[in-house]
Amino acid sequence: MDFGAQTRRAARWLRGNSEHYLLLDAQARLAAAQGWPGPPRPRGAKEVFWLRVFAPTYRRIPWKVRSALIQAMPGSHRQTWTPPVERRNPAI
């Protein structure tokens, strides 16, 4: 059994759903705070779960932990990428 492929499929499912619903959640909160029309209220069990359970739980996790979880997902970001060289001094 190819566990790598299964992990990648699970990562795609999680990414697709979390990206969509976290964006809706962000739109709703920013719209409420800034006075813009927001998205409609969640409908059905799936939307209620992602918007009323997942999104608030995600927000409560500290950014460093969230970031570590994101980095643990399989993807191009885990391949070799040379870090940029910091150049803060004059050129000559």
Partner: protein, 455 residues
């Protein structure tokens, strides 16, 4: 094709990434053979220009072609047109090509591009649904647009914004159906999209936000006649589908090449895939974001072309590296230019990234100079380090240049302090005394100080 006596680089796909890869492979190994397979009739044109021909800003499609087919023959790139690659055999180093059978390769570059996401509603097979992609089809669709009185654009994606503007500019009654609360809501903030929506309203566009697509409704001839939505039915002579760009990776995935969480092929900085001797570039891959390190897929044509250059060079034995992306973007939508870099408030909030905001409403030229335009700049910075992490802008001109500059500023770690006191060009016809970026940064510093004082 010549008998295989020299190293052969096969490129699957003739879009920006594929052509970039073909040219770079040829340059890196002039003695090698470069073969490009494309399922379309043409290469080397600008698909991004199609909405502007539809909008009549550009008079004809011929202007979108960059080079004739003979230019590639002269350059030593053997392009096989209307040849679809249906399979990859990595063990035998062969691709299966419709009409040609199995073709061997020494190095392979996958540049298979994207498909629009399936709207996933009944009626998706009706005629009258336009997916903007291929220039020959666009020429045919332009004649349909000539006859259309009412058009419906599905989703306010970047292409959706361009097509709404183009159709409205052409005088067609244009409806926009989008499930989000404002235009381009997956990338732009509400305050950035608001002027665009106002200008669309002035142009007669009917906007249907927070509206779900439910079905395409056809007539007896299977021609679309209406779009059914959660807010009711909209009559339509033409429907333009502008859903998300999904990576086209069926043959790569079937061959066992690793796919990431975006659905894009996993690559490293050399555009190498999980399989030795196989590179990939363009909309079919994912690359990391420079600030968050989250992989992204479906970027611009300039990203695809650069990635193709890297992939082609490395495939042919050279050494070139790509870098994480900061994604400067910009476009004309309605009567405005909008753009940005990296994150806006909505994306940063969605990811849960802490930020401080500085906003400024400035002008593009001296206040007294003719045609001076407003320019709004919003900067996002890390609250602790004050390093820039994103920006959004809307204005009458000068958005693209600011987006490019701010992308580089983020890349090199520029802070709000740096930007607040930046030097800027002051010349009445081209630049105001106060650069809006600098004023936004000053306001961001004030906001950061206030937040710190508040604890």
């Amino acid at each position: 094709m010549t008998p295989k006596t020299v190293a052969r680089t096969v490129v699957v796909g003739g879009g920006a990434a594929g052509i970039g890869a073909g040219g770079a492979a040829r340059a890196a190994d002039p003695s090698g053979e470069v073969v490009v397979f494309t399922e379309y009739e043409d290469c080397a044109y600008s698909p991004c220009g199609i909405p502007y021909v539809h909008g009549k800003e550009i008079p004809d499609f011929d202007r979108l072609f960059l080079a004739g087919k003979e230019a590639y023959v002269e350059a030593g790139i053997d392009i096989h047109y209307e040849r679809k690659v249906t399979g990859l055999d990595l063990a035998r180093h062969q691709v299966t090509v419709e009409g040609e059978g199995e073709v061997g390769w020494d190095r392979l570059v996958i540049a298979t591009g994207f498909d629009y996401a399936d709207p996933g509603v009944p009626g998706s097979a009706l005629s009258g649904l336009y997916y903007v992609k291929n220039i020959r089809r666009a020429m045919e669709w332009d004649k349909v647009i000539d006859q259309a009185k009412v058009a419906v654009v599905i989703e306010a994606s970047p292409l959706g914004l361009e097509m709404v503007t183009a159709l409205a500019h052409r005088g067609i009654e244009t409806h926009l159906v989008d499930p989000h609360p404002w235009a381009l809501a997956e990338a732009a903030d509400a305050d950035i999209a608001a002027p665009v929506e106002e200008s669309w309203a002035e142009m007669g566009v009917k906007m249907h936000f927070n509206t779900r697509l439910e079905a395409f409704v056809g007539d007896d001839n299977n021609q679309v006649r209406a779009v059914r939505t959660s807010e009711g039915e909209l009559p339509a002579d033409l429907v333009v589908i502008c859903t998300k760009k999904k990576p086209r990776n069926d043959i790569a995935a079937a061959a066992g090449i690793a796919i990431g969480s975006t659905g894009g092929i996993i690559v490293d900085e050399r555009m190498a895939t999980s399989q030795a001797g196989v590179w990939a570039a363009g909309d079919c891959i994912e690359v990391p974001h420079g600030v968050s390190n989250v992989p992204l897929q479906g970027l611009s044509g300039s990203h695809a072309y650069s990635q193709g250059k890297v992939a082609g060079t490395n495939a042919a034995g050279g050494d070139r590296k790509y870098q994480p992306v900061y994604v400067p973007w910009g476009m004309v939508a309605g009567k405005w230019m909008i753009g940005g870099v990296s994150f806006g408030e909505t994306l940063a909030t969605a990811l849960g990234i802490p930020y401080v905001v500085g906003t400024a409403q400035g002008i593009s030229r001296a206040r007294y100079y003719p045609d001076v335009k407003p320019v709004k700049v919003k900067l996002l910075a890390d609250p602790k380090t004050l390093r820039l992490i994103g920006a959004q802008m809307v204005g009458g001109e000068g958005i693209k240049e600011r987006a490019d500059f701010l992308a580089m500023a983020i890349k090199v770690g520029i802070t709000l302090e740096d930007l607040a006191w930046m030097e800027n060009v002051y010349s009445p016809p081209i630049g105001a005394l106060n650069e809006p970026i600098a004023v936004a940064a000053q306001n961001g510093l004030a906001a950061a100080a206030a937040a710190k004082a508040k604890g």
